[in-house]
């Protein structure tokens, strides 16, 4: 039991002393804390507000506000899952105390360490969500998985899942195990690679870390994305074939924003549309904005495409729900080696744009560990992305967001 306390009106140490209190000493005893805590169950933490007065100087009084909760990682035995440690889902280990408050009383209680077990945020293989905001889907299990790791298949390959955990798990290893939605995990906690996947069809495994003593409670979750050797080879070949971006120099700069019209129907439905008539596109080399709703550009809502310039190159610009140009990948648009639309604004009936601009983007995201499969002939993903890493960064270097800046 810990009863870390904070002081309201009499928070400075001198005044505390006049109040007969010591910053390092709990306000009440451990036994008293248990009594208060147990009287208010169910509760994870109980907050107590108490008026205090000084026996000698009765004019000095104030309030003590302090919290009471069991020692440990928030669980009965001081062990908890990082999955439930919100915000951040960060695993941690405290050898003697889980109390972070003033005058906390967890020491020397004989209580096991306070541990939040989960995938280590500092591990170079693990990646933690860096693409915001979260886009909820109907799959809550997927929505709440905040880690991913991209690996490349190899014959007989395995991934030691325990090696991905924060070291705090070690004392509890025998009580921990992993399950996976795809492929298999052996008794040593290794994810065993199966067949070499096909290009852009990685084996996407939702791996769950489970704790046996608590009915196999899920302590943390991670996507492991096992990519094809072909995906890795083609992406690196594509990088080598795109040594510079000089071709982007002639691309038109995009508009910093687009005008929107917000209207409400008789039924109260609010719709946002582009007010195209308020834009002067004459002589700009830009086609009018269109609605866009694809996980490939995360939360972007509108898209503009440029006419092809000499060489067939083009520029894509994405805008958010307020009509502002998005400049942060992956929601942002990029330069295209092959413009997908002609100057008549018809889609070209070939696969140049698909092969040179779209599929390298898909491969980069998958190699970074995003648990996404292309759908609708490579026009969307089956779920939102969560992480932008080195491969996607390499892609953006070759297909920059704003190679010629923004229109004044």
């Amino acid at each position: 039991m810990r009863n870390g306390h904070t002081y309201g009106d009499i928070a400075d140490p001198a005044t505390l002393g006049k109040g007969g209190m010591d910053p390092a000493t709990p306000v009440i005893t451990r036994e008293q804390a248990w009594t208060v805590f147990n009287a208010r169950q169910p509760a994870f933490q109980v907050t107590v507000t108490q008026t205090l007065a000084n026996a000698t100087w009765s004019a000095i009084y104030g309030r003590a506000i302090f919290n009471i909760q069991p020692c440990g990682g928030g669980g009965v035995h001081g062990v908890g899952g990082a999955q439930d440690r919100i915000p951040g889902h960060t695993p941690a280990y405290f050898a003697n105390t889980g109390c972070m408050g003033i005058g906390c009383g967890c020491e020397n209680t004989g209580i096991p360490p306070a541990v939040w077990i989960g995938f280590d945020h500092g591990n170079p293989t693990n990646k933690t969500r860096s693409i915001w905001p979260r886009i909820p889907t109907s799959d809550n299990d997927a929505n709440t998985t905040e880690h991913c790791a991209g690996v490349v298949w190899e014959a007989g390959g395995k991934l030691d899942l325990f090696s991905l955990l924060h070291p705090g798990y070690l004392e509890f290893k025998d009580d921990l195990y992993f399950t996976s939605s795809k492929l298999s995990v052996n008794s040593d906690g290794e994810l065993e690679f199966g067949k070499d996947p096909k290009d852009m069809e990685p084996d996407i495994c939702l791996v769950k870390l489970r704790y046996r003593p608590r009915n196999d409670e899920v302590f943390d979750k991670i996507w492991i994305v096992v990519n094809s050797t072909v995906t890795w080879a083609i992406f690196n070949q594509w990088l080598a074939e795109n040594p510079d971006i000089n071709w982007t120099a002639g691309l038109p700069a995009p508009f910093p924003s687009i005008p929107l019209t917000i209207s409400t129907s008789w039924f109260g439905t609010v719709s946002t549309n582009v007010n195209v008539s308020a834009m002067n596109l004459t002589g700009t080399l830009w086609h009018p904005p269109e609605n866009k709703n694809s996980f490939m550009h995360h939360d972007a809502r509108f898209e503009m495409r440029s006419h092809p310039i000499t060489g067939g190159h083009g520029h894509q610009a994405m805008y958010d729900g307020q009509g502002n140009l998005i400049t942060a990948p992956i929601a942002a648009g990029t330069a295209d080696l092959w413009a997908p639309y002609s100057s008549w604004n018809i889609p070209y009936p070939d696969t140049d744009h698909l092969k040179q601009d779209v599929q390298p983007f898909i491969r980069a995201l998958q190699l970074d560990g995003n648990p996404v499969l292309p759908t609708n002939v490579n026009r969307n993903f089956n779920r939102p992305c969560i992480y932008m890493g080195g491969y996607t960064g390499n892609y953006i270097e070759k297909r920059p967001v704003l190679p010629t800046g923004v229109r004044p």
Partner: protein, 246 residues
């Protein structure tokens, strides 16, 4: 425009008749023979032959990069590895790749029951849309031939469809359209590559994936075509196009 000699010989009709075929497919640059076995032992010989014929159509060009990767797991001898997804098949259907022991005959490509069921349904679908299915190969053969180069601007709309596009647009964009289409090589579709969708001008539209390749057959992709007014036409459907007309 590149042409594929295979188009002249392979046809959906062969897949649909399916008689006279032994259950063997060919893969790899040297056209290695590989037996085919079916998990569904109740499947008729006619259905088996039709499926094998369709597998051959898929493997004839796309399968040239295929290789066997064998291993020693009990009941699972290995797999047929082709690094890209099958451009003949729609999303959600996997080309079979399990290689199993086949008694004294050695090894065989195993067709799972869900795939043979999908084929069985596709054959019924083909029979119900016989005219469109028969026209599919004619369309692919024509757009792959040099005769396609003689199509005048006023007739290009017989081979490609843009939503709500006036005739003038097809003529203006004629060179863009034909130059694009000529960048690819087209191959006969699989019977599995046909599907209905609400996407298109009607409430229910028949589509097919036309397998295509570019970059000397390294880059494969399914290219969509729609059955429109009794003809197959390439189509990238857009609900609300904003054409840039003069």
């Amino acid at each position: 425009m590149k042409t594929s000699p295979l188009i002249l010989t392979a046809s959906l009709a062969a897949a649909l008749s399916g008689f006279g075929q032994s259950n063997i497919v060919y893969y790899g640059i040297n056209s290695n023979a590989l037996d085919v076995v079916f998990v569904d032992t109740n499947l008729s010989q006619k259905a088996q032959s039709a499926i094998v014929t369709d597998l051959r159509i898929c493997l004839s060009e796309w399968g040239k990069t295929g290789e066997l990767r064998l291993r020693d797991n009990a009941g699972f001898a290995g797999y047929l590895y082709i690094g890209t997804s099958c451009p003949h098949y729609p999303e959600g259907i996997e080309f079979p790749d399990n290689i199993v022991s086949n008694g004294t005959a050695g090894i065989a490509l195993q067709i799972p029951k869900d795939l043979s069921d999908a084929y069985t349904n596709a054959f019924k679908f083909a029979a119900a849309n016989a005219k469109a299915f028969a026209a599919a190969n004619t369309f692919v053969a024509f757009v792959s031939s040099t005769n396609f180069n003689s199509v005048p601007p006023k007739q290009i709309s017989d081979y490609i469809l843009y939503n709500k596009a006036p005739a003038k647009l097809y003529e203006l964009a004629f060179s863009d359209i034909t130059n694009s289409l000529r960048k690819q090589t087209y191959y006969p579709p699989s019977v599995l590559g046909f599907y209905h969708s609400t996407e298109g001008p009607a409430s229910k539209n028949l589509w097919m994936f036309v397998p295509s390749s570019s970059n000397d057959r390294k880059d494969w992709a399914p290219f969509p075509a729609i059955w429109h007014k009794g003809k197959w036409k390439f189509c990238i459907w857009e609900d609300n196009p904003q054409y840039n007309l003069p």
